[in-house]
């Protein structure tokens, strides 16, 4: 998964099936090739291997996090890889945000959980937008470009049915109930997005999604100083970079139009986003 290589081990056959389904378009390297992250998701040892089986995530051979029910193995793998990247990849400024692209211009959607970021992202990438990421924006501070990994999109609870209805041809894992995030399912990324995975994009807009039931679509200018603080707050490693991080976020915010987008309907959101980059839709 460019720009990283992840080596995965597991004794859980269902996990292998989910990986084959969700990562079908990704290249598979020889086991001897260099890998950035060595991870494992395997059955917990002992009686819990057979009685209400649990699975555990390992990084570099060390157990990480508490074990979870084995049926959550694939979400656990995805969350574990997110942690690996967020905790170790300080060559980037890593922002908790979705990133989509069209015509070489990227829109960054930073947002805390529950704002509708992943639902919106999942919908738009099924309407011609390229997926860079639904979770981790990798901002190259020197190049002022954003990279992504085009990995499966994590959907929760009501958004699973909403996205399935909006894009009936999408491929998803079966829904997994009772996770810490509720019921989750992962959506396979569009093949075109995976094939362009190595292509960064220039950030052009920062859009703060705000799902509100029944609301008409509304674009509002969002102050750049406030946007700065949101980006810094949503960054996993802003503090690691010190003054360079401060300067980089300032540069990013300065270069982008910053708006808040309130929506309740994905069809309306699609129309608004179609007009964002050419200026026909504006705050």
């Amino acid at each position: 998964m460019h720009p990283f290589v992840v080596r995965v081990r597991s004794d859980i056959s269902r996990l292998a099936d989910d990986i084959c389904l969700m990562y079908a378009d990704f290249p598979v390297l020889d086991p001897g090739e260099f890998a950035d992250f060595h991870v494992e998701v395997s059955f917990e040892r002992g009686i819990r291997r057979w009685l209400k089986p649990l699975a555990r995530f390992y990084f570099d051979g060390r157990p990480s996090f508490i074990p979870l029910p084995a049926q959550q193995a694939f979400p656990m793998l995805e969350w574990g890889i997110n942690w690996c990247v967020a905790a170790h990849s300080h060559n980037f400024l890593i922002i908790h945000a979705a990133v989509i692209e069209r015509d070489g211009k990227a829109i960054i959607l930073p947002a805390p959980p529950g704002s509708g970021k992943s639902t919106l992202c999942a919908a738009l990438i099924n309407r011609g937008w390229r997926l860079l990421s639904d979770e981790l924006a990798l901002y190259d501070m020197a190049e002022n470009l954003v990279y992504g990994m085009a990995r499966p999109v994590n959907l929760k609870n009501a958004s699973i049915k909403i996205v399935s209805a909006f894009a009936p041809d999408v491929i998803m894992t079966p829904a997994v109930p009772d996770t810490t995030k509720g019921t989750v399912a992962l959506m396979r990324p569009p093949q075109a997005s995976v094939f362009r995975i190595a292509e960064p994009a220039e950030p052009a807009m920062i859009v703060l999604p705000n799902y509100q039931h029944g609301a008409d679509p509304l674009l509002e200018l969002h102050g750049k100083a406030q946007t700065f603080m949101l980006i810094a707050d949503q960054s996993f490693n802003y503090n690691v970079h010190g003054r360079a991080g401060f300067d980089a976020v300032g540069e990013l915010v300065e270069r982008c139009r910053c708006v808040r987008f309130t929506y309740s309907c994905l069809e309306h959101a699609e129309q608004v986003f179609d007009g964002l980059l050419d200026g026909s839709c504006h705050a």
């Binding site: 750049k224 700065f228 010190g242 401060f246 300032g250 915010v253």
Partner: protein, 89 residues
């Protein structure tokens, strides 16, 4: 005032600025008035009324009551961010 250096970032036509504290690594969202006050206090302590008089003279086109209110808000911001201290005579 606490011994530190702040790096400021301004945005065109905005009343808020962001500031990076070089000593602590903290980042603060401050008003433009707070930035003016911080820069003023670098040289020496000034009373609250002194700050209000100074800023009114720097911004004669603004209503004095609004400047005074802006100073009060800015002082709360700076105190909350632990960037200044109150010195009692």
């Amino acid at each position: 005032m606490r011994n530190t250096t702040l790096a400021f970032r301004f945005f065109f036509e905005e009343d808020a600025v962001v500031a990076y504290d070089e000593m602590s690594g903290d980042t603060h969202l401050l008003s433009i008035v707070a930035r003016e006050i911080f820069e003023t206090l670098i040289d020496s302590p000034v009373s609250v009324q002194g700050l209000k008089d100074l800023l009114c003279s720097r911004f004669p086109e603004d209503v004095p009551e609004l400047v005074s209110e802006g100073v009060d808000v800015a002082l709360v911001q700076l105190l909350g961010a632990d960037l200044i201290q109150v010195v009692v005579d």
